[in-house]
């Protein structure tokens, strides 16, 4: 099972240009809103028509601009889960699901399939209800049930959790994980929530302004993002443009600090360091350390984010440091030395 996508589409000043191939696994498209994630899914489903390109699903050509092939969405067999669930409002849950059943004509067979999926998706008791009488989680489960009975060859999940409350989100995510891992066919998952993406997918592609920037396993993409937007999308808050000092040192312009880096500085335009990699430090001679003024303390549910500004730098930007509440309670002061360990520094390109 494989999905090959190579599409290009112009919409005003926006230019979508993506090319990737994926197998029977979960590939996440991670990007800011408006970067073309949903547009990519819509091109695959046949809802949007690319200007140029080719889409092949498991040997079946769905779209080929050169050969003038454009299979209608009805025949592509792409299960598309929309953010707003898109259940038909005039039909009950049962009728909605029955709409998706493929191939089975006789009534008893259809009823059996419906009953089975209702059981599996924990929708018992909602059969006769209309979509607007369901909770957000039930709506999304019913929409997923309708897609599963449709026997799709590829699953396209377009921000399926974004309309839900956080506690419902986590439960639905767990249910979704067990379903997509047993699916055995390509799954594309679009989201701007990095935690969701990390938990659900095996491969991650970072998208920016209509283009695919990086693609790799989730550990590669989160562990060593190579681009500025990749670092930002995977949650790195401290990012600064740099100038090269020598092969192993760079000058971070936002903070006015010269820092030692692991690896070579060639081609590096920015560096980033995650807030939990910034550490308080006692030793005045420590590498990559600087005395900072505490500008603000932000309390999170289970940690503290301390915003710091290097004392020698008047107008510079702040560095965020995140640490457990009790650790901060012990060392809390208005001015302290911090270290940006070379191990934690991400070397980035524009």
């Amino acid at each position: 099972m494989s999905l090959f996508v190579d599409v290009e589409k112009k919409l005003g000043s926006f230019h979508l240009q993506v090319k990737f191939e994926t197998g029977s696994q979960v590939l996440a498209l991670l990007g800011a809103s408006g970067c073309g994630k949903s547009m990519t899914l819509k091109c695959i489903a046949g809802i949007e028509k690319p200007d140029r390109g080719r889409i092949v699903l498991d040997g079946r050509v769905l779209f080929d601009s050169e050969k003038h092939i454009d299979v209608p969405p009805q025949k592509r067999r792409a299960g598309y889960l929309f953010q707003q669930c898109a259940l038909f409002p005039n039909m009950t849950v049962e009728q909605n699901i029955a709409c998706g059943i493929r191939g089975v004509r006789e009534k008893s067979g259809r009823a059996a399939i419906t009953a089975q999926i209702i059981e599996r998706m924990h929708l018992r008791g909602t059969e006769k209800k209309k979509p607007d009488q369901l909770s957000g989680g039930q709506q999304q489960r019913a929409a997923l049930a309708r897609i599963l009975v449709n026997e799709p060859e590829v699953l396209l999940l377009d921000e399926p959790f974004s309309a839900l409350d956080s506690h419902l989100r986590f439960r639905l995510e767990q249910e979704l994980r067990s379903i997509i891992h047993g699916f055995g066919k390509p799954v594309l998952f679009v989201s701007h929530d990095r935690d969701e993406v990390f938990r659900l997918s095996s491969q991650i592609a970072i998208m920016k302004d209509g283009s695919l920037e990086t693609i790799g396993t989730r550990h590669e993409v989160f562990g060593a993002p190579r681009t500025v937007s990749g670092a930002a999308l995977t949650g790195c808050k401290n990012i600064s443009p740099v100038r090269q000092r020598d092969s192993s040192h760079v000058y971070a312009e936002s903070w006015g600090l010269t820092l030692k880096i692991n690896g070579t500085s060639g081609g590096v335009s920015h560096i980033g360091i995650r807030m939990h990699d910034v550490k308080p430090c006692e030793n005045a001679d420590a590498e990559n350390s600087a005395v900072c003024q505490v500008m603000e303390e932000i309390e999170n549910p289970f940690s503290i984010t301390v915003m710091l500004r290097p004392v020698h730098e008047k107008g510079g930007e702040m560095i965020g440091m995140e640490l457990p509440k009790q650790d901060w309670a012990q060392i809390r002061k208005s001015r302290l030395r911090i270290a940006l360990p070379a191990d934690g520094i991400l070397l980035l390109r524009e």
Binding site: Q74, A78, Y80, Q84, A86, F88, P89, N90, N150
Partner: protein, 218 residues
């Protein structure tokens, strides 16, 4: 009291509403998808009868359908029937006049439809016909029904274009509105007043139905 004008009015309004129901919906559906330029032009042409005086509509229809005019002449030659001055001539007049009402309300209803529903239907393999009749139409039901009621009410009250193209022949082409005018003109005030009451009763029922539809919307 001869009830012919009532029956004639109802059948003319009924038939023209039925025709315009489908014509208006399909025009609304396809024009909503047309390129902007074509949409703008068609919109002006199709909405025109709403703002034109009915006599102008009647004049234009007579120029087209009159026995010595292109379409009317051809029809007379082929079918040996005149298109004007028979009871169903009025259907041309009412249809043209009520078309914009149906077209505009249907388009308004379609514009509020969430296209995601159509997309999800397509990806599930449902045919476009199924999606139109079973998903789009039910979702836009209230707006379309309101448009239909309005169109029917307007067709019942049509006077200007109808009197020009179908005339007033008692027992053959007379409608409620042409009868009221005729009775008033011939000083039969009592009977004219009775028809006025009948007309007002029908209008009240129609408006009541419209209100109930609006309530159902909430």
């Amino acid at each position: 009291m001869d009830w012919f004008p009532l029956i004639n009015s109802l059948r003319i309004a009924g038939i023209s509403t039925l025709i315009i129901f489908f014509a208006g919906i399909f025009a609304a559906y396809y024009i909503a998808k047309a390129p902007k330029f074509i949409k703008g032009i068609l919109d002006v042409i199709l909405t025109m009868p709403l703002v034109l005086p009915p006599t102008v509509v009647g004049y234009l229809l007579l120029r087209l359908l009159g026995p010595r005019r292109p379409v009317g002449k051809w029809f007379l030659a082929v079918f040996d029937t005149k298109l004007t001055m028979v009871w169903w001539s009025a259907i041309f007049a009412t249809s043209v006049v009520i078309f914009p009402l149906m077209y505009r309300t249907a388009r308004g209803a379609f514009e509020t439809f969430d296209e995601t529903l159509a997309y999800s239907g397509q990806t599930l393999g449902l045919s476009n016909t199924y999606i139109f009749w079973r998903i789009r139409m039910p979702a836009c039901r209230q707006g379309i029904m309101a448009g239909t009621v309005l169109a029917f009410a307007r067709a019942l009250g049509e006077y200007g274009a109808t009197s020009m193209i179908a005339g007033y022949t008692p027992g053959r082409t007379a409608t409620i509105s042409t009868t009221v005018y005729q009775l008033w003109r011939t000083n039969d005030d009592a009977l004219a007043f009775r028809w006025v009451l009948v007309n007002m009763a029908i209008s009240a029922v129609v408006l009541l139905a419209l209100n109930m539809l609006e309530k159902g919307k909430k």
